[in-house]
């Protein structure tokens, strides 16, 4: 019963925070709701025996990405923001399709059949520790994607420099 209760707590808060994120008038508030949301998601990951993921969820998402957002939000003109309407024209149709999408997704995952369990049982992971198990995989089987990620990050660096550089050279 306890796990269910835990889950219920997390689920409810996650959904609520998500809604707050997308509805908050003030972007700063949105970011802050987001922060809370990420913590809760990280909690959920812990609950699912994914300590490492939970950790990077907090470190990268909450620590890095959200801070970046916050910076940018402050960069922009907030006072103006608070005066105007937060939704675009025609938002009801957006809402409709969002809900409709939710409905069809739920309807189609009702009959979801999960694949049979693999070798990484909870015990195995506990034995090896989660981080190590993940790291081993990353550096062996998933070496190639891991390398790609490095290039992606490089692109991000180069791209940000190109786009956000202040002075024009020529």
């Amino acid at each position: 019963m306890l796990p269910e209760l835990f889950f219920a707590y997390f689920a409810v808060t996650i959904v609520l925070f998500s809604i707050f994120v997308v509805t908050a008038r003030n972007p700063v508030h949105s970011v802050l709701w987001m922060l809370l949301l990420f913590f809760h998601i990280a909690g959920l990951y812990l609950f699912l025996n994914a300590e490492f993921i939970a950790a990077i969820q907090i470190i990268i998402y909450a620590g890095a990405i959200l801070v970046l957002y916050l910076f940018v939000v402050f960069l922009l003109n907030l006072r103006e923001e608070l005066k105007i309407y937060r939704f675009i024209g025609g938002w009801p149709s957006g809402l409709t399709f969002g809900i409709a999408l939710l409905a069809v997704i739920i309807l189609s995952i009702r009959s979801f059949i999960a694949a049979p369990p693999g070798k990484y049982s909870i015990n195995l992971i506990r034995e090896e520790t989660h981080t190590k198990a993940l790291a081993k995989l990353l550096y062996t089987d998933y070496l190639f994607p891991f390398e790609i990620i490095s290039v992606i990050l490089l692109v991000a660096i180069v791209g940000v420099i190109v786009l956000a550089k202040r002075r024009l050279k020529t």
């Binding site: 189609s108 995952i109 009959s111 994607p145 992606i152 692109v155 180069v158 024009l168």
Partner: protein, 475 residues
């Protein structure tokens, strides 16, 4: 614990490409003349292309596969990269964004495409796609003082991220269903466990279709394309109207033909409306355009619809026709963009259709080339565009979709209206403004290559056809 060093032969081109991009990033700091960077990148791509030879095989535990299929697409990507670089050199100088990163980003984006084409695992696929997409976002916004370029990048980025989220959701779904992300294993699992009726599988398939449909700019996931194409630097428009589209088709072919092989009927039913809508919207809305880049964007949407016919045929011949189509499209489309770029000079935008009025009077050769490209895009022989269409129509009819081909040809007629309008402006109107061309040897080279290719493939398509068939034979 098994720490065997992976076999790097199949992945050699990608490695070289990465190295090339990095070298370019470094040399940018050293050399003043940006032309050298361009030359270097072209040479580098040629070298990379050379490493393609003998690179076949599977590696990284089956995550990466280099086969005929991927090789063919990589050739398209290289063609795309080289031609894009060729048409860029003068152009980015005119636009005053002559930075070395430009070439590196093109190469990295090409790298992303190559990874996509070779991806045998959904994770690799996703990462390749993101690699390609992120660099293209940056490239689209490369003229950062230009609001249009910003806007193009913004829209492309927002919608691109939106669509890749759908892709991820699809991947997660199929992962849950099959417990694997390996494309071949997915196929095996689905057919073994009889998952074909499961709606979750269909959902996942649709989400894939959405994400790939976005990359190939198929209606209704095309909405980004006109704005992004119009706003992006013209050379990048050329680049991204071919490269990401081809890459999208590459993964489309691989994922759907292999992973979703057992629910062919369903995904064909998805792509038929996409194809029809793409042809319809692309061709019809293009009529109403006044900006040539935007017109070509809609044309690109329509061409995605035609190439989709090859996918809809859902057999090897169909894939081969789709591949030939993309190869030909690469030539003719970049050729057309090369002409567009030539009209751009320091103080003249040259991207409005009315700028082409009377072009044949002052610049007969350029007009003649544009004429060839326009007829090729329409699909009138003896240009390559006809052979491209012929091949996809043939495969579609062979697969029993005659009615669909009838629809396609009707839209081809509609397309003639706006392509020929360009020719009409060039040849049948009197010039209103003095157009001075910004010629350069590289641009000339690009035009020469594309023209020769368009005509040669139009008259002798056999090599391309045989190549495509050979490429697909081991699929």
């Amino acid at each position: 614990m098994n720490l065997q060093f992976p076999d790097l032969t199949p992945v050699m081109p990608e490695l070289f490409m990465t190295a090339l991009a990095l070298i370019l990033l470094c040399t940018e700091l050293l050399v003043k003349k940006k032309g050298i960077l361009a030359a270097l990148s072209i040479l580098g791509v040629v070298v990379v292309a050379y490493t393609l030879i003998g690179s076949s095989g599977t590696t990284f535990g089956g995550m990466f596969v280099s086969d005929g299929y991927s090789t063919f697409f990589k050739v398209i990507f290289f063609v795309n990269a080289i031609l894009s670089v060729l048409i860029s050199i003068k152009y980015i100088a005119i636009e005053r964004v002559n930075f070395g990163e430009y070439y590196s980003l093109i190469l990295i984006s090409t790298l992303g495409m190559m990874i996509m084409a070779s991806a045998a695992d959904l994770i690799v696929l996703y990462l390749g796609l993101e690699l390609m997409a992120l660099s293209t976002y940056v490239l689209a916004g490369f003229i950062r003082y230009d609001i249009k370029s910003n806007e193009a990048a913004l829209k492309y980025f927002l919608l691109g991220a939106f669509s890749s989220a759908f892709l991820l959701y699809g991947i997660s779904m199929i992962y849950g269903l099959t417990g694997t992300t390996d494309i071949k294993s997915i196929a095996l699992y689905i057919s073994e466990k009889g998952l074909t009726e499961n709606p979750a599988l269909s959902l996942s398939m649709i989400l894939f279709a959405v994400a790939f449909g976005f990359k190939i700019a198929a209606v209704p996931f095309h909405m980004w394309a006109p704005d992004a194409y119009e706003g992006a630097p013209t050379s990048i428009t050329a680049f991204m109207s071919v490269g990401p589209k081809a890459a999208g088709f590459a993964v489309l072919g691989r994922v759907f033909m292999i992973a979703f092989a057992s629910i062919k009927l369903e995904w064909v039913a998805v792509f038929i409306p996409l194809s029809i809508l793409s042809m319809a919207v692309g061709n019809i809305v293009a009529i109403a355009q006044t900006n040539i880049k935007r017109m070509l964007a809609y044309s690109s949407i329509a061409h995605a619809g035609y190439a989709l016919l090859g996918i809809i045929a859902a057999n090897n011949e169909g894939l081969a026709s789709m591949m030939s189509y993309l190869m030909i499209y690469a030539f003719m489309n970049i050729g057309a963009f090369a002409v567009v770029i030539m009209l751009r000079s320091e103080d003249f935008k040259g991207d409005s259709i009315s700028d082409y009025e009377g072009l044949s009077r002052a610049h007969p050769l350029l007009a003649a080339l544009m004429l060839i490209f326009m007829f090729s895009l329409t699909g009138i022989p003896p240009t390559a565009g006809f052979m491209a269409k012929l091949y996809v129509f043939m495969s579609a009819i062979n697969a029993g979709y005659t009615w669909l081909v009838v629809v396609a040809v009707v839209f081809a007629v509609i397309s003639a209206y706006f392509y020929l309008r360009i020719i009409m402006y060039m040849y049948m109107r009197e010039p209103k403004v003095e157009v001075s061309l910004s010629t350069s040897p590289s641009l000339g080279l690009a035009l020469g290559v594309t023209t020769v290719a368009v005509l040669a493939i139009g008259v002798f398509p056999l090599y391309l056809v045989e190549l495509a068939r050979a490429a697909i034979s081991g699929f």
